[in-house]
Subunit: 314 residues, 4 copies
């Protein structure tokens, strides 16, 4: 199969509805600007549509600087038919408290939003609405949508992105109410295997590692496969494999591209010592930071070493 | 402060409402049987009540064999006034689909439950109720409670523990619908510092490690502090510190008790190389598995080595 | 250059004179039995004759179970035009005290032998000839030769191999006088590059590693290149490079053959992180012990991993 | 036993005879200047005299920047009754070729010297006296002494330190004939246990490590005991234990003093994982270079960590 270029993608799915931070991430992706954009009700639904070729790519959240890894995405990528990440987008997370016209802050008795968003505004709520009842919704945008439609609603105010409140014509009762003003969510653009972005020198690679057995020091051994080849990790999360309490796989991002020699040897090393290694893509870093290759780990160092070995063996 | 004994505890809080798996965990704790039990609406609320001495201990979920770490608990323990884990309980997780009398499975159009439970019955739902709309609730027991009360409800059926359905007098439409039949949730009993269970030989210790800086190989260095002293980890989770994308702390369980010599030296080593180490308790393992101490890491080995050193120095 | 087979060798040099343990080692080498054997006065001289193609191979001592590495050999292999080890021989070391006919033990006032041999009979001498003066000779056989020839000699008795005493027709005053009865010397057969024995499954490889700079933890890094690929070391010696006090190179034997995949990757890894790596040959182990390959380090594991990587990259 | 101060030493032994580099080392030791100085015929003899309290200290060579470790010294310190190093001296090694008056360079047919010295002038000899026969002597000074006395001698010229040639009134045929002009020999002043120099901040410690068993990765484990506590090695030599081929102990120098916290914990760690650890002294470095303590490894870091642990445990 000839690898497809990321610029060949036509239909983009995303975790909807409209007005979520995920849509903001998709809007920030150049290649998606004038293409078809399809909202899905869950990460699972978006990725299934991608697997069945209903769409060409899906934008989904993977990591939040406050709440941590997005389990649904991590798990959906770690299992099922293979998918690969082909890009990432960082979106600052800003929350507003919004309500229907005429509802003053002092009258708010209940607040609807997604549980992750609720977790990120706890401090503000404890100060300004200590007695408000929390009502979970399927997404932050869903809380705005419920208020935006006529008829009964289960809560007086919603917590969502500014764009969602604007979309629904709601009033803003308070802006920037997140407990952490520098909160950022990282989104990844996922595609089917066969789409591999070119190396840029500032790349990341994502894998999931399944340990051969759960022996002491197992993780240490895996990390040494990276360290001995000068490959730096930028994210590590353990996720249960679901088989038994204490049985984990590791979701890992690291610097470098599949085509880099040190990445190739690291992946082969992991493949040999792990029960399984799932490659989840190499893609340009959103922050453009170039890898700081340790002495002896550049492609030319690997080439020189291989020529030397071949000469010894001949 | 004289350490209090776990048997001195009188008032127990837990993540409510009644009928949750957390209450089942508390029921399984011998010392809580004939004591006062107080439900709280969130992990945060239970732990705040504990910090303010309103209760003496709180039972909260910390890790699910399918869904992974419970972020709310991990984060609430990692920050704020110090608390310590003094015991753990493992509870098998079994879900039922329940409804009001007279509602056949074929008529169910919407299902309410907690988002974590929904994630664990995805496969069953895709097979038996592919078109059902999901409605998030605050807990699994809350879905049963809503159905158990008269009046309007937002969904036709709920997903909860068998005990919750029984408490509310609901009909069981399907039993054991979890995708993973061996799912287990691990709960921890948390108290204020000053309560330290005796070492039993089959103990665990929980810590949170904050790295000094985010340098390459940083986690490897931390893990070597364990490895060089023969201490085995049983859980590792990275959690964002909230300060910036890619800034993590590590929540770690390992074998052994604060009073064990190898644990003491490991903790001191971590304290020296980390920006901060938060001790979250030593307590008997629920499974009673005794640590398999590597040669040279028993308390007597440490004593012998110390005597030898003191003799050299004198 | 087509590799020559070890069986093509015709002229064998060795560290002479006749009657040394080195000649015993050469006699134990099947391929040398009916070939020309040339003694040399020093390891340097033998290896220089090999480099200038005056001989085809040279048998020299490299390691003694009592005295350690043989510096002259280690250093001569580590520098100058490249040479390779193509085989090894283990020879038990047994010393006799010998003298001209008519000299009783009680009359011995001075003893001649090589300084290494003297070091290995210290205890016997302290007990039986506490007042004897030591006279250094160029080799153990040289002490026998001096006594075997007519005329003045600087010492009353010699310490040498039984065969040397027999060659010279000397009387044996005491047998097996070595302090360590299980002493063994390891000899290596050295040839010019281009002679590479076939892998047997029970092979050793010898290298010299020159560190890039003398930074802390440098040796640890080198050893991790072996460990991460499951390659076991059987000998490690540091040798000064002669450049400055504290500047070392490392002479290392390890299990496996140049053609083994895990050895190839280890050598390339060392080549990348070292200032220089000198390959000194792969050859069958004298003891025939087969390497105990760790899970994931067999050639087939490397092949599988490479196929997987190539598929990912295509 | 109250530790004795190095300044209490009265009788100094050294590897004689007069005129060796060892005497030059002793002359460079302030505390020995106006004290009794006793030459011994071998390192063993000097150290035995020290063990039997015949002398208070002994100056012996331990490491040469060209030839490597001095086996006799390393082995004599590693076995027998314990001794400790209390100081070190670095002496530049300069060789002269000397002869009796009237012997021109062109007439020299044979050269006497110690085998280590002969190894260090090989290049000069190959150029200027390619046909000279080598005659081993017990020391470099012994070659000068033989020429300095009337009567027959086995060689025409000697290789020794300038001071030895001057002592004997010999003529200098060539100066500074060492192949390596920056050659240095390191000498150590050895005493009985109970003499421990004060920490200076620029100290070294010497130990011998005996592995528990000869398992793969054994050395790596030992080195990790140093690395994890930020202790840098400055010398590592493997020495055969004499028990079997491939059975080694490790002679190691590292930065820091027995009284340093990180050194104490490292020594205890080694004691626990090794079959045996032999402490061979802590003493000021001859070059005065202060240890570059890694973050978290200063004494105050250890004190802070210990206080923290004790508070947790109480």
């Amino acid at each position: 199969m000839t690898p497809r270029h990321p610029s060949d993608l036509r239909r983009f799915g995303y975790l909807g509805p409209r007005g979520t931070f995920t849509q903001m991430a998709l809007d920030a992706w150049d290649g998606a600007r004038h293409q078809e954009q399809v909202p899905f009700g869950s990460v699972d639904a978006a990725l299934e549509a991608l697997r069945s070729a209903e769409i060409d790519a899906a934008m989904v959240p993977i990591e939040n600087s406050v709440e941590g890894g997005v389990s649904a995405t991590l798990d959906a990528l770690a299992t099922g038919d293979p998918l690969v990440v082909i890009g990432e987008v960082l979106v600052p997370v800003t929350f507003v408290l919004c309500a229907r016209a005429g509802m003053p802050l002092s009258s708010v008795r209940s607040v609807g939003t997604h549980s992750h968003a609720w977790a990120q505004v706890r401090t503000w709520m404890a100060t300004h609405l200590p007695d408000a009842v929390y009502v979970p919704t399927l997404s932050t945008a869903a809380s705005a949508a419920a208020l935006g439609q006529p008829g009964d609603v289960m809560f007086d105010a919603g917590v969502c992105a500014p764009v969602a409140a604007a979309n629904e014509g709601l009033e803003i009762l308070a802006e920037d109410i997140g407990d952490n003003r520098s909160a950022v969510t990282r989104f990844v653009l996922v595609a089917r295997p066969g789409t591999l972005p070119e190396p840029t020198g500032a790349d990341k690679t994502t894998v999931v590692l399944f340990q051969r057995d759960d022996h002491a020091g197992g993780l240490l051994e895996l990390l040494e496969q990276f360290a001995v080849r000068g490959v730096n990790m930028t994210r590590l999360e353990s996720r249960p494999t679901g088989e038994a309490m204490g049985s984990y796989c590791f979701s890992i991002d690291f610097e470098g591209h599949l085509q880099d020699a040190r990445v190739g040897e690291t992946l082969m090393g992991l493949k040999r010592v792990c029960a399984d290694v799932r490659f989840l893509g190499s893609y340009p870093r959103a922050d453009g930071v170039r890898a700081d290759a340790r002495v002896g780990t550049a492609d030319t160092d690997f080439d020189t070493a291989r020529s030397w070995l071949e000469q010894l063996r001949s």
